[in-house]
């Protein structure tokens, strides 16, 4: 790693806007509101369009994974095409470590900035183990704690949104509630010094509020699980707005939360100690973090369970247990063992149609995605997994065609409830069309 980097200075806190890539829109908005409470100006980049990919291709080695191309392309696009003053912005990037090449995003971003003539723009890595010093961006443990809470609340909101939106009777109910709680929760997190003692109450309040949305659950919807490489799984920019496409096709999206990925990253350190007696110093702090995160997850699960009408997400321990029959939890690069485990867990909940998203040529997903499909299917023949590659050259029509095939197949194989057997797999939309 380059030892010389541009630090984010204390002055910059006043003058600079921190640009945030569009990975987890719901979650990041919450986190940004927390940061703004501490005086940071930040903006979520919601731009899309071919310029982004093109800038990525221009400034990053073309064989680098698609998320790197997109994230870097989006930053450069903001500076070059969208009027952000390059002398008044800083970039922040969430950075995982480990043996996957994704651990190099920060370096690649800095290289690209230099190449494009913006080497002076500070880049702040948001990582579990921060190695760099940015005097203007020093987060106290309490800020970090609040940010983590914001992310976990992002999880519950995103989860419930997916469960309600396809069934809402009055269009817009769900989105309004999402909007409302994004504001309310961040307000509470910022104001309330003792927020953690009340978090349970807030989880419950959210779950109950979503449960009250008038819904028509008689509509039959195919539940589709979305798993995969962390960026393309969540980012609408990365996955060609997959969530929207699936909802339009009449499916209910089930997308495991980010907290499991956090727990997985923490557990990787614990497992290094258990398996190899490495990272001894990290063992105790990681154990503590592990416990704290699990505690938050428990609150989230309990709240959803108590609302009674929702599918309840699993605990991390449960997912881990499912994995162990298929793969060692020592396998920890990229999404590692968590990826097949999430597929198993989805299937266990009756979500048997799963889209496994990955950037074209994703190294860990050779093993954990495509490599695990056969053993998973051998033991769970009812599971149907379709692997979708995302890439600057992969066309949407191909991706959607494949997903459509899975959806049609899912409707075909669904136990036929009524008499009109063959017309079962015409969507309502098609029926409407035919009648026009």
């Amino acid at each position: 790693m380059d030892k010389e980097y541009i630090p984010f200075t204390k002055e910059m806190k006043k003058t600079h806007t921190i640009l945030v890539p569009n990975m987890l829109p719901t979650h990041f908005k919450l986190v940004m509101k927390v940061l703004s409470g501490y005086g940071y100006k930040s903006e979520l980049l919601e731009s899309s369009g071919p310029e982004i990919t093109e800038l990525g291709l221009k400034y990053v080695h073309n064989d680098t994974c698609y998320p790197a191309l997109l994230v870097i392309g989006q930053f450069l696009d903001a500076i070059i095409n969208r009027g952000y003053d390059p002398h008044k912005v800083a970039l922040i990037l969430f950075q995982t470590g480990g043996g996957c090449r994704a651990s190099n995003y920060i370096s690649l971003l800095r290289k690209a900035l230099k190449k494009a003539g913006y080497g002076y723009v500070p880049v702040i890595p948001l990582a579990f183990n921060a190695l760099e010093k940015h005097p203007g961006f020093t987060l106290s443990p309490s800020v970090i704690y609040k940010m983590i809470y914001a992310v976990v609340f992002g999880d519950i909101i995103a989860n419930l949104k997916n469960q309600c939106k396809p069934y809402e009777i009055y269009k817009g109910d769900t989105d309004n509630l999402v909007e409302m709680y994004t504001t309310k929760i961040t307000g509470a997190i910022q104001r309330d010094k003792l927020f953690f003692s009340k978090s349970k109450r807030y989880f419950k309040e959210i779950a109950d509020a979503f449960a009250k949305i008038p819904m028509d659950k008689t509509q039959s919807r195919v539940k589709v699980g979305v798993v995969g490489e962390i960026y393309v799984k969540y980012s609408p920019l990365g996955n060609n707005n997959l969530e929207h496409f699936l909802q339009k096709e009449g499916a209910e999206v089930v997308c495991p939360g980010i907290i499991d990925f956090f727990l997985y990253c923490i557990y990787a350190n614990i497992s290094d100690y258990k398996l190899y007696k490495m990272k001894k110093k990290l063992y105790i702090p990681m154990k503590i973090a592990y416990k704290a995160f699990k505690g938050m997850q428990r609150q989230l699960i309990e709240a959803i369970r108590s609302a009674q009408i929702f599918d309840v997400p699993p605990t991390f321990e449960h997912i881990k247990k499912l994995a162990e029959e298929y793969i060692s939890t020592g396998a920890q690069m990229g999404e590692g063992w968590l990826l097949p485990a999430e597929m198993l867990e989805l299937s266990e909940r009756g979500v048997n149609n799963i889209i496994c998203t990955q950037p074209f040529g994703c190294l860990p997903n050779h093993i954990f995605g495509k490599g695990m499909m056969k053993p998973l299917k051998d033991k769970n023949p009812h599971i149907s997994i379709v692997a979708i590659d995302y890439d600057p050259g992969a066309t949407r029509v191909n991706q959607e065609n494949r997903i459509k095939l899975m959806l049609t197949n899912a409707t075909l194989q669904k136990p036929k409830k009524d008499e009109e057997s063959d017309s079962n797999y015409i969507t309502t939309e098609q029926k409407e069309m035919a009648n026009l």
Partner: protein
Amino acid sequence: MNYSLGVDIGSTTAKAVLIDDNGEILYSTYERHYSKVLEKCRELLENVYSITGDSSINFAISGSAGLGISEAIRVPFIQEVVSESEVVKHTAPDTSCIIELGGEDAKIVFFDGGIDERMNGTCAGGTGAFIDQMATLLNVTTDELDSLSLDAQRIYPVASRCGVFAKTDIQPLINQGARKEDIAKSIFQAVVNQTIAGLAQGRTISGKVMFLGGPLSFFKGLRDCFKETLKLSDEDVIFPDYAKVSVALGAAFYASTLGHTYNIKDLLERVSKATLPTGSSNVKALFENENEYNEFIQRHEKATVPKRDIASYRGCAYLGIDCGSTTTKLVLISENREILYTYYSSNKGNPVDVVKNCLQKIYKLCKSRIRIKGSAVTGYGEELIKNAFSIDYGIVETLAHFTAAKHFKSDVDFILDIGGQDIKCFKIHNGAIDSIMLNEACSSGCGSFLETFSKSLGYSAEEFAQKGIFAKRPVNLGSRCTVFMNSSVKQAQKEGATVEDISAGLAVSVVKNAIYKVIRAGSADELGENIVVQGGTFYNNAVLRAFEKELGRNVIRPEISGLMGAYGAALYAMRATLSSIISEERLSEFSHTATGMICKGCTNNCHLTLNKFSDGSTFISGNQCQRGAGLKEGSSLPNLYEFKRNLLLSEDSFESNKKTIGLPLALGMYELLPLWKTIFKELGFNVLVSPMSSRELYEKGQFSIPSDTACYPAKLMHGHIMSLLEKKADAIFYPCLTYNINEKLSDNHYNCPVVAYYSELLSGNVERLKDTVFLFPYLNINSKRELSRGLYDYLNASGIGSFTKREIKKAVSCGYSALKEYRLSVLNEGKKALDYAKAEGKDVMILAGRPYHIDSLICHGIDKLALSLGFVVVSEDSLPLPKVKAHVNVLNQWTYHARLYNAAQYACENERTELVQLVSFGCGVDAITTDEVRSILEGHGKLYTQIKIDEITNPGAVKIRLRSLIGAMEESRKE
């Protein structure tokens, strides 16, 4: 009567089937739609109307381009695969499996035990389109290709993963003069292998198999290949009459079940009102207005070469031949460098005949007035042509192109050549070539793609190019590879793009591919001031303009753009005083035959072509080393690759009373074999190491590879496992190692995810591993104590034996000593090699890659090729390197990769030492390392040479790279 109509609109063709109540086909059609999908749709409906009249019909649409239409005219859509299962249900319910090849898709649908569909991944597109392209390459129609294949005698191995790769394999075969019949069959076999290995992935294809889709209904040869390969009897294969319209038929069946009817008149109206959404395009028009275009044309008309009428010229002349991958070019120049005669032709599958005919013509024109005083040949077919016609010089392409470009612009500092197959670029610094970039397989074929594509739309290349000039909204087609571009065109067609927009879009794509993938330039300034572009593709004004626009700079395109290699060769030939070129009399008797054979010189088993000429002389092509060419045993220069191979493959004795542990010699095992081997021997096992990789070994395991885009070294692992299973190893061992040995050269010491965890994938996907004990513990190899503990727990629990802590500890200790010894002997040998080079004044090549790149199949004999070119070959781990972390701009966290940076540093600090980096296709980590290694080398004024390797063997391309490197080294030494 009740009519049901199914329409299938695919990427290039439209199909329609009309059936009656009984499922009888009343009308069916299969036509190309030339991107005009709505018009075609209307035409089909009108045809149907002439049969059905005003009766109402059931109607459904299918196909990739059908989706958009179904939405636009509001009729039901049925996914293609579902449509086919309708066909099976109605016509042959006992079918257990469908294999369907379309223009770009390949599918297998299994019906036993629930429908299981498999479609080709994004990287395996191109079957029908691929066959079209191959036929063009062989200069035959597809029907001729089919009948040729029936007379084949042998099958050449052709990479089956991707159309582009297959082409790279086939091109050299054509150049080497292999029989067309054999090539034709090899092409079909490649399609079959691609389908079976890529799609079935281990699931057995048996029972009744139905074959569908255009290519399978047109080509008997292809059907035969499938039948033979799958070992199917006549009763088990169904080749229905409706194969090419099956999806439309299925849609018709589906429509008949829906119970909604339409009036055709009404449908026609909907079609004529429909508009397809046009895709958002941010690609700017190539020309704003007519004036810009005129200025452009005038500017480029200035780059001419003086010509002289051959009929009146008297004196000496020089001949240049450029025998390229798809075309052959000849240029004859006068003593004043005026062009007397030029020739440009497709190879027509046999460059020797092309050159012969052309030479005869030249001799006729020369009469006694003109004497050829010198001749030179360059390009893929250089050696073949040089031998066949006794040409004076064979020169490397880069040199030929540079010589020619200098003639147009003496201070040229950047040359870009886009030919049919290759993109080559080189920077000129201080009058010498100092950096060479060649495309990888993935960006090859851009030029010929343009040509093939224009033909498929029914235009000549010139017409197609001209259409793009004034396109208003060029479509964005991406720049990954031609297969992807093809796929993007599909999307654009769906969105209703015009031929003009597609033509311009393709031009922009080709250019972007060159700039961003091959040159990897961020800005025009990186290229230089004086840029000369050439190659046949630049005759296309749309491409030329797109390049200037993308760069924001005017460039020079010589009028003889496509002949520059030959012109350069002719200029080079001017140094001759007396030519040895074949005389007119001997030429008239000249004939040539080519036969294929397999080299037995080493395990590489190169496919050779023996060319026999009428004077009794012979020439062997296709060899990767001197041995194959029948020359004396290569050279005696030190070769660390060979040394390491021999060191690892020492024979072992077997004792029948001991259990046998199998170690697959692949991926990380290439590094740690001494450690594991010793440990297991010490623990009382026979140790069985799988042999070096071979094509046969690869094929043994190919069917169980779940991810086609993983790197070749990883995919070979499957073959190694199969080979150990065949030899009945009692257990197979390949551990999971998140962390590699910490050599203290980097900030962390990871393995890449594939090396680290491939065992997890093997355990889940190689069915037969269940017949043995597969041991893949997670181990810490950085501490004797932890390794002993890990092995003690794991081995005792595995059931292959019981061991005491003491036994294990001792074995581990011995293992580390063996590993240390191995590393020391590699270092010692490295030192010897370097000392030898110094003493004998030889050039050193650091062939830098991963430990597993020494595998003779993976490295395709590149080490031997380098030796034959006079290099001493050392590996990245045999250098006397200081234990310091290299200064790099990226996270330096992988053990193997850290060595690369240090080796690059070593190359910079030592004279007569060059580094060539071997990169496996699909290696994600190397996307990061290559830029860094390049910047280390170029920062010190060294040349960076990268060779990307995969399944394909194209020694020609590698040779060009290495010879260009030598040329550049010599140039810089002269200074």
